[in-house]
Chain length 169, copies 2
Amino acid sequence: MTNNIIQEPQQVILPEELLLHWQGHRQLTRRVIEAFPEHELFHYSIGGMRPFSEMAIELISLAAAGIQGMVTGSWRATGELDHHAGQSLPGTKAEILRQWDLVTQEINHSWLQIPLERFQELDMAFGQYEGPIIRIMLYWVDNENHHRGQGYVYLRSLGIEPPPFWDRY
Amino acid sequence: MTNNIIQEPQQVILPEELLLHWQGHRQLTRRVIEAFPEHELFHYSIGGMRPFSEMAIELISLAAAGIQGMVTGSWRATGELDHHAGQSLPGTKAEILRQWDLVTQEINHSWLQIPLERFQELDMAFGQYEGPIIRIMLYWVDNENHHRGQGYVYLRSLGIEPPPFWDRY
């Protein structure tokens, strides 16, 4: 863009800032996964809620299907996502982190293919959520933040200091 | 804007969508506050964390100081915010909700005064966070989502069904 003398339109948020925003959240969530002891990641729960491993696996599925949908317009229905279909779910922290990192790379790679006008296009995402791409994407980033906040409570109640919320990089 | 034939530049997110995004989150957080029994709102805690009333009061302070800073460029330092200064803190759920609703109105009113180019301006927010306005604002919206997710765990562990995460309006 620095080679280009055309004035860019003023943006509320730039696509590259939005990518950093999303990946910053994912970087922090990765640290929260790491902070769990292996057993507690898969078994610890409060109030009948899911263990954090199940939330993390949901987040991996949503991010992977989400970036694919953003780029291609082809959305897997929620029932077809790995965490619902129950297929090949990671059974160790190391495997969760490995899948997490693959999605991180996929997002960085695919993001470059998203044209500016895509963010305001209407899609029926995941077979059921209709709206502009930007709203759908913010929803899954919010969903991650929401569940990660729950992971903080799990960690605190286990006597483990969570990573600082402000550290996204 | 409908009276205007000038083509608006393509936006990743429109200012009015960003307002709905923020207020949608605030509407949901309001429901979480309401879902707490009076006593538990002020006293229930897990893992040594703050009761949800203290988180809610922080969110009120940040939102009020945040919209003021966005509009005026004048930022109160974090130590001067009500929830740090300890002054006139609400002591009942009704008073928290009343203050919450005042800030809701203030945000809706003030938002109209924010010009498009403001979102990319650099400020030193709350006396310590330097960055473009959009990043600072998303940070406090994220902070609310984060703490609200913690409130969900408090509610679940109290046997109370939280309001649905997807219902923002």
